[in-house]
Amino acid sequence: MDVSEYRKEYLEKLEKEAKGRPSFRDFLDKVRSKKPGFESLAMADDNGERNDIDDAVEIIRDSSENVEIRIHALNGIVYEIAQREDLIDLMIELLRSEDEPEKLRIAAIGAMQLSEFISAIFPGKRPQYLEILRTIVDKEQSEELRQQAIGILAKSQDGYVQERLLKGLRNEAEALVPPEKAIQLLGYDIHSEYFPVLQDIVKNPPNLFAKNEAVRLLAADADSKNLLAEILQDKSEHRRVRQTSAIALQSLAPAEFERQAEQIIFDDDEYEDIRATCINVLEGSPTVSRSDRENLLTVADDSNRRRGLLEKVKELKETASSKELKKVAKRYISNHKK
């Protein structure tokens, strides 16, 4: 189909769909009248006339109004909020006020997140917004709001929240979130000083999830190569953690991973899901150059090694009881037959 033809057809389709949607005025009327079904009313996309927007703002500001209605009104003008400085100020005001309902403030965060993405005005408001989020982390009663604020700040690599999360990992009494969540959030910034903490958690984990997250993040730390290799080889380790360490080691040190993975594949006492993971990860990883291998094989040895591995995988395809192992073995064989 011609591109311009396709474009024309697509625009006609959009116009047709738009005609079927309620106008913003209809949306507001239904919201105001609290007719049944308003909760599932699709958001109008024409953003309405100016006085419609003002009506929606009035609803949002009205603290005596039903909170669900206020939320719907806010969500209805979320794109308009991103275009107007006074409406972004309104969202900041809602966030700042502890008297406002939690759900409404969460909706305000949603509007601000969208504005961060699409609004040309948002950069000017960013300092205020970040300050309020940090205040929420410190002082907020609502747990959900705190979690949202912590998540947003962590994603923007905020030093303040990183410090709080690290303190919480070192001392449970100061924890803002569960340890596995803290580790996950700290992982947004590899330049934070958490690697020693993660290594401690791997050795003395508060729970399995935290250990798994710590292993995952250690993929960024070149000094943890040996630790990851140990975990991968340790048959007493939880298999989920071993699988995570396989992926982490492959990312960090492909040559070392290849060596470890081949040992595991050849080990008939090894768990099938671990062998499947190793074949799978080997399959997806770029070929490690011979010069990177620590044992510096000759070309002939390298070729023999690969042939031997292929034969072993063929054997596993026939003899394995695990469907997953058979599947990955088949794929490996198919890609290495050539």
Partner: protein
């Protein structure tokens, strides 16, 4: 830390285990004791051991708190490169705000900083934040908050008349919808505009760029040319996985080397460095120098930046890979490399936590000839300096000392000319005999009047005029380079008075007066224009007149 009778603090001893609150407390103490501001400067180099093991955000907090303190205690000249570096390339609001405040600690405003402030506006406008320097690690909500943009525009206001050339930019920031600054920031811009427009101080235009000696240094930071080869234990792997030693690559031809790492989160640093390296490679090719000068980028992060990563990173930024153009990681000897280059980098575990921009030009023996550190380097300027290595490379066995010797002779020649033309000639002219009687006086003074000495001759007058012309020409060149024409006008007026009323109209005192003006103009022209900075003045004098002596070992 002890306070002496001078109320000065002693140098602190911090290490990687010193709690950051302790360091912040020291900064607070320095703020109370203005005489110790230089101790803060000593804490700024990135390779300081106490930065080791700290996360990037912690380092930002510490350095920001230190830099903001300069706004209160005064900004030493040695700290200026660190401040300008952050303004030019930084992307963290806390540090940028701190450096904008630090500039207000300068003894004298200068228009030199305007390009850096404008660049900082561009860097930070989408990353601004609410912050305070009232205390370290404040509680939220802040009671007295500011933002990076606010502080930048406050500094424009502080510059006043010295920021006149930024007025059109400030008006653009204020009027254009393209810049969605908040109302408080816009108010700060308006205040700055008003302050600049109302400031009636007359500002002599200064050189528009930071002096090159702050950006480019000669030779290695460490004393070099030891007997033992410092590179023996350094081994590299290139982007294709080939392994070789330092001396196998950095030899026979000069090289341009940059440092970077793939996980750098500041696009103004490593990513831009490698992109510019690609431009530089292209420029070398256009000038037909691609076979004469090698290029290399070395990663700070060899444990993570394996060959395939280096290749992909370089390819994505247009790097040309060849036998003479490589991206490298160390497989051995990174600490030796770090030590030799005195790399401005530090680490938290294996990851870089802070680094500066650095480019080195190596001679054909792999030794550092030039260092471009901290500031964004210019492709053309780097190539020009690299070409100097080619000119110094007479034959395959050229030694750095030979090259240095040639350059020292050149430097000596240049400096001698400057000294002679600008200072000695006026002395000669002053005491030059302008009439037979003076000539006799000189001869009798020197005890040779009993000789049938050279009689006074009219041809001496053209010689006198020639000498004055040489002096005037030298004064004009100095005025042009300093962008300061006062001394030249003084010398010119002196010559006119000497020639016209003095010699032509024969007013003797006019001659003396004219010659004194000529001499004064020459003396003033030799003084580098840096107001209110006697120590910099002295340093510059030393640099101009005695640096060539130092390089010869005096």
């Amino acid at each position: 830390m002890l306070r002496g009778l001078t109320n000065k603090l002693s140098k602190p001893i911090f290490d990687k285990d010193t709690p950051e609150d302790t360091i912040a407390a020291f900064v607070d103490t320095v703020k109370q004791s203005r005489g110790s501001k230089n101790l803060l400067v000593d804490l700024l180099p990135e390779q300081n051991p106490f930065y080791k093991g700290r996360g990037t955000n912690q380092i930002i907090r510490l350095r920001g708190y230190m830099m903001a303190a300069f706004g209160q205690v005064g900004l030493p000249d040695r700290a200026l490169p660190y401040v300008l570096d952050e303004l030019e390339s930084g992307n963290d609001a806390y540090l940028v705000a701190a450096t904008a405040i630090a500039l207000r600690g300068l003894k004298q405003p200068t228009p030199n900083v305007i390009p850096y402030l404008l660049k900082a506006v561009s860097n930070i406008r989408y990353h601004d934040d609410s912050l305070t320097f009232d205390c370290y690690k404040p509680q939220y909500p802040l009671t007295n908050s500011t933002t990076a943009l606010t502080e930048i525009f406050r500094t424009f206001g502080w510059l006043g008349a010295y920021a006149k050339e930024a007025l059109s930019d400030l008006h653009r920031f204020s009027d254009s919808k393209e810049y969605s600054f908040s109302a408080p920031v816009k108010a700060e811009i308006e205040k700055a505009i008003t302050s600049i427009e109302n400031d009636k101080r007359s500002v002599k235009p200064d050189c528009c760029s930071i002096p090159s000696y702050l950006r480019i240094s000669r030779g290695s930071p460490k004393a070099r040319l030891k007997n033992n080869e410092p590179f023996e234990d350094i081994e590299f792997q290139d982007d294709d996985g080939n392994v070789f030693e330092y001396g196998d690559f950095f030899n026979r031809k000069p090289s341009i080397v940059v440092f970077f790492y793939t996980r750098c989160s500041n696009p103004n640093k490593c990513s831009l460095t490698i992109t510019k390296l690609a431009w530089l490679q292209k420029a070398l090719k256009e000038q037909g120098l691609e076979n004469d000068i090698k290029t290399a980028a070395i990663t700070y992060d060899p444990g993570y930046d394996l060959a395939p990563r280096l290749k992909a990173y370089g390819q994505n930024r247009g790097i040309l890979f060849s036998e003479r153009n490589k991206i490298l990681r160390t497989t051995r000897g990174f600490e030796s490399l770090r030590d030799y280059f005195q790399l401005g980098v530090n680490f938290v575990n294996s990851i870089v936590n802070k680094h500066r921009i650095e480019l080195y030009i190596l001679d054909n023996n792999g030794r550092i000839a030039f260092t471009f550190a901290r500031f964004q380097w210019d492709v053309r300027e780097v190539i020009d300096h690299a070409k100097l290595m080619l000119r110094g490379d007479i034959n395959k066995n050229s030694h750095r000392q030979t090259f240095n010797l040639c350059n020292r002779i050149k430097d000596f020649g240049k400096t001698s000319y400057r000294l002679t033309a600008s200072s000695l000639i006026p002395l000669i002219v002053i005491f030059f005999p302008k009439c037979p009687i003076c000539w006799a006086a000189y001869l009798s003074f020197f005890g040779i009047s009993s000789l049938k000495s050279i009689p006074y001759s009219p041809w001496l007058l053209p010689v006198f005029i020639l000498l004055m012309s040489v002096n005037l020409f030298s004064a004009f060149n100095q005025a042009k380079s300093n962008n300061r024409y006062g001394p030249f006008y003084l010398s010119f007026a002196g010559i006119l008075i000497t020639l016209i009323p003095g010699i032509y109209l024969d007013f003797q005192y006019a001659s003396y007066f004219g010659l004194i003006m000529l001499f004064a103009g020459s003396l003033l022209g030799n003084l580098v224009y840096r107001k209110n900075s006697a120590d910099v003045l002295l340093r510059t004098l030393k640099k101009r007149h005695f640096s060539f002596l130092k390089s010869w070992g005096f």
